[in-house]
Amino acid sequence: MLDLLPEWMRDGLGDDAAFWIGYLTNGKHLAWYASFQFTIFAALIGGALALVFGLVGASLKNARFLPLRAVGDFYSAIVRGVPDVLFFLFFPLAFEQTVEWFVSSRVCTPDSIAASVAPWPPCPQANWFLGTTEYLLLASVSLGLVYGAFATNVIHGAMRAVPQGQLEAARAYGFSAAQVRWRFQIRQMWVYALPGLSNVWLLLVKATSLLSLLQIADIVLWADRLGAPNFLPAVGLVHPDWRWRYYLALLVFYILVTWLSEKGFEALMRRAGRGVLAEVRR
């Protein structure tokens, strides 16, 4: 990295600064910086899916047909009733197993099942190997499912907070039920839902630190590797146990993300609340 800088800059830096720039831009550290993409990807896709599941869940909870309402209530109650990490681990593993079970019912012969010694999958041909990409996608979906249950509750409450008079007026103008829902209820709901959705988003961002539990080489795993005590000059800088410094850096990263998200949601709130904000805040 230092070699990329022009001569005069390298000389002006001084040995100390040059040393730290060299250390912080060695290959392992660059891999660490690159691994932030997994966290950001999981947060963005998970957040988008959580919003989708939240809207679906809230519609189910508002449904006229009892079984659908029951599904919506069950989803939001059960998923919020168990720890996020449990569902986060369970969903990818269970999904993988279900797929393998379906595959095994097609490709496995009685002979291959009898020959297989491992408890799972039934035969080696049915094994589905999951790499980082697959686990990342599954992790994003399970983040979406977990926090979608929270979003369901928020959106459900916000849809009921929309003044009835607005909807009545829309119906009086001859809008159909679907039009009233999409053009009035969901349009006006955001200003009531945003404070709650902001909380859900912050919870989701913090849950992205769990990616390493699914064998993804994310920022937490790299921080652990880079900070571990090193006594071999060939491997890199010789240093004692520096892990807490790396975790502190991650802590600061998450606090910064929280701060940025808060600013972002404030701006969204200003935009969603044009004309109604004073009424909502009262």
């Binding site: 047909f65 146990d241 807490w244």
Partner: protein, 244 residues
């Protein structure tokens, strides 16, 4: 059926670890949170800034990273500090370090809840208390505290349940010593042995659900006691609507 019953019995000792983590950290966090809530509302700019910073830092970062950071910090100070003092067996033990980090974490969340409630205490009542010549401690005891705790209780109930859920990740960051395994570690190990995700994880979930329900029930009864002087809210009516 027998398989499920056996599984439930095998997980029972593991659930005790989660309950221990929660039970050890909630009372201490409760006490500290009151201090930090008053600190955040304090007129002294230094105390206010420190409390604000503390609450923001611990609410803005994941518990998982906090656990890792405090554990590695304790590890790196082991030879220089804990070993000479002869307390390394205690400081590095997950049954001590886990509740310690959980206390730090829940203090921040609870303090924020209490601070919100503190700001909602009716101003007129405080003025009346001052007019009666009450000292600060008397004001706190007879006006601020009853209002604050009643206003904060529903949110605090949720925080307690969340903290109990958060105990699930303690042993993913801290070392597991011998048979001291909590529900998640037990479920993960059982899964790695026979790859039966549909059995082990739902049983662990069942324990979390059951304890959450107990917490909701107990805290709901306390809440009823806290609001018993208020005009009775309309009772919840069971009115099934099969098709709305």
């Amino acid at each position: 059926m027998e398989v499920i019953l056996n599984e439930i019995l095998r997980f029972a000792p593991a659930a005790l670890f989660n309950i221990y983590f929660a039970a050890a950290s909630i009372p201490i966090g409760f006490g500290l949170a009151i201090l930090f809530a008053f600190g955040k509302g304090s007129k002294n700019p230094l105390i206010s800034a420190v409390s604000r910073g503390y609450i923001y830092a611990f609410r803005g970062s994941p518990l998982f990273i906090q656990l890792f950071m405090f554990y590695s910090l304790a590890l790196s100070m082991n030879i220089s500090t804990w070993k000479p003092m002869g307390i390394d067996w205690l400081v590095l033990h997950p049954l001590f370090l886990g509740p310690l980090v959980l206390v730090l974490n829940t203090t921040a969340y609870t303090a924020e809840i209490f601070y919100g409630a503190l700001r909602a205490v009716p101003h007129g009542e405080l003025e009346a208390a001052r007019a009666y010549g009450m000292g600060p401690w008397q004001q706190f005891r007879s006006v601020t505290w009853p209002h604050m705790i009643r206003l904060a209780w529903p949110a605090y109930t949720n925080e307690v349940v969340f903290l109990f859920h958060a105990t699930a990740i303690v042993y993913f960051a801290l070392p597991v010593i011998g048979e001291q395994k909590d529900l998640m570690i037990r479920a993960k190990e059982a899964f790695e042995r026979d790859f039966n995700a549909y059995l082990h994880f739902p049983i662990a979930a069942l324990y979390f659900l059951a304890v959450s329900l107990v917490v909701f029930f107990v805290f709901g009864r306390i809440y009823e006691r806290l609001v018993r002087h208020l005009e009775r809210a309309p009772k919840i009516r069971f009115s099934p609507k099969w098709l709305r």
